[in-house]
């Protein structure tokens, strides 16, 4: 039972992790909590619904198109809103992103309605291992593999490419980055694109495992933030790790506490974490 819960946690955790990486990057570079991230995630899932179900494209294609479209929306948000507020107090940008969240969520409501949607109405029976010891669906295996691929891709991107280094430099000091010759606007666009793709992937995988609703992302926003904080703001690896910790502990918590308190688990861990090691598990302490 514990093993099964652990597995469920890993699946949920990888989805949270994907969303949290982008959130963490934005937090690190642009210095604000992006509260529309959850709704971007929802949007990604609905885009995939549009392509896969409404336009009957193959899943992989729908996935790619939706991810790209979500990235585009993220970039548009940057251009229309956040770019103009960059020199302002981070709270103002944050509030602006709350507004963006409202807009996105209600646009989804407008186009797709409030009802639950499914990529596939038929259910999938699990592969049963060890005499019912462990059950896992094919979809879930796909989710784990896709999440892993994306995470590796992010890792390679950040460490092997100049752009990755530029992102980290900008997280430190945008003005200085600019006089070092970094085209900061372009890097910011890339950052949004990347977070858009990752968050869309998270949304699609989530919907793939369960279902779509207009509030799916908003509901997942706090765990996403918890993962970011847990991992240390601005640390993508921390965010991955944080996501897993949140996912696993949330699922496994039902072994000891009532399921009604499950949503509290993420925060409790996070708050304990803050008390014990405020810079986050992987965060760095800087003067």
């Amino acid at each position: 039972m514990a093993v099964q819960l652990f597995l469920n946690g890993v699946i949920l955790g990888s989805i949270i992790a994907l969303g949290a990486i982008g959130l963490s990057l934005i937090y690190g570079i642009l210095k604000f909590g992006h509260f529309a991230h959850g709704d971007l995630m929802t949007l990604g899932a609905y885009f995939a619904f549009l392509f896969k179900v409404q336009l009957a494209l193959p899943f992989w294609l729908a996935f790619i198109l939706a991810a790209m479209l979500t990235a585009l929306v993220a970039i548009i948000l940057n251009f229309v809103l956040y770019r103009h507020l960059r020199k302002r107090d981070s709270v103002i940008v944050m509030i602006s992103s709350v507004g963006a969240a409202l807009i996105i969520r209600n646009i989804i409501l407008l186009f797709w309605g409030p009802q639950n949607k499914f990529y596939d109405k038929a259910i999938q029976m699990p592969i049963i291992l060890g005499d019912g010891f462990l059950r896992i669906k094919e979809n879930q295996i796909v989710i784990l593999i896709l999440a892993l691929i994306l995470v590796i891709a992010v890792h390679l991107f950040l460490t092997r490419t100049k752009l990755g280094k530029a992102m980290r430099a900008m997280a430190d000091n945008i003005d200085l980055a600019q006089i070092t010759g970094i085209n900061t606007e372009r890097v910011i666009i890339w950052t949004w694109a990347m977070s858009g793709v990752l968050t869309a992937a998270a949304g699609i995988l989530l919907a793939f495992d369960t279902h779509l609703t207009p509030v799916m992302g908003w509901n997942l926003l706090l765990p996403l933030f918890a993962a970011v904080i847990l991992g240390g703001i601005g640390s993508p690896y921390g965010a991955m790790f944080g996501g897993l910790v949140i996912g696993i502990s949330q699922e496994m918590s039902t072994l000891v506490i009532s399921a009604a308190y499950k949503p509290a688990v993420a925060f409790t861990i996070m708050i304990l974490m803050l008390i014990i090691k405020p810079s986050g598990l992987m965060g760095k302490k800087v003067s």
Binding site: N173, Q178, I179, T180, G181, S287
Partner: protein, 232 residues
């Protein structure tokens, strides 16, 4: 090579620089000195379009810098060490230096080696985050980063502030040495006597205006300048 023509610049609505013209010729070392708050840093920043330019233009090798993106300026051989916040604190020293070569695709290993040999204290700090360095060490990193790219024109805002005496001399010597290789230098210094002594030309700024302009030596010998700005 750099010609600032009657520039007015400032922050938002506030105008700080009131019509300054200044020139750096090929191969020159030019110093700007003046009291605190007189607008020296603002003037340097205006070259890089880091402040709001209200009027005037800046000609660099035939292009108007006020219309050029910063990344393009770097590509064209400009390099700038700001007065404050001039390192990336969470990046390591090595990464800070690498970023100096951001716009280049060349392998610059020997440039890095050169910088380390110039500032031995940085060698053991190579893998350390720049935010943990002492004030003087940061200054070395910042200066080093500007050298990575072999610039044509180097803009330095108080490069020796916070450095131990041996490094002040080292840096100033280095500036002369670099200059000999054909790099033009425009620097702001409060170590004014030393700076002017090695400069081809110097400007004295006060309250956002140009008060004096002369050869480095000329300014040093000017009684009034010495009294008001160079500490007697």
């Amino acid at each position: 090579m750099l010609k600032i023509n009657d520039i007015y610049a400032g922050y938002g609505e506030i105008e700080i620089i009131h019509g300054i013209s200044l020139e750096v010729k090929e191969g020159e070392i030019v110093s700007i000195v003046g009291p605190n708050g007189s607008g020296k840093s603002t003037l340097l920043k205006s070259i890089f379009s880091l402040v709001d330019i209200m009027k005037g233009n800046i000609d660099y090798l035939g292009t108007d810098l006020t219309k050029l993106g910063t990344d393009k300026m770097i590509e064209q051989g400009l390099s700038f060490v700001p007065q404050t916040d001039n390192v990336f604190p969470t990046l390591t020293v090595a990464e800070n230096l690498e970023l100096g070569a951001y716009v280049s695709n060349k392998n610059l290993k020997d440039r890095f080696d050169l910088i380390y040999s110039l500032f031995p204290p940085l060698v053991e700090k190579r893998k350390k985050k720049a935010g943990t360095l002492s004030g003087g060490q940061r200054q070395m990193v910042a200066f080093g980063r500007a050298l990575v790219m072999e610039p044509k024109l180097l803009l330095l805002d108080e490069p020796t502030a916070g450095l131990a005496p041996m490094f002040i001399d080292l840096i100033l010597d280095k500036v002369v040495e670099i200059n000999k290789t054909g790099v033009s230098i425009l620097m702001v210094e409060q170590n004014a006597k030393k700076a002017l002594a090695m400069s081809d030309r110097g400007y004295v700024l006060a309250a956002g205006e140009k008060k004096y302009e002369d050869s480095g030596k000329g300014l040093l010998e000017n009684e009034e300048v010495a009294q008001l700005f160079l500490g007697g």
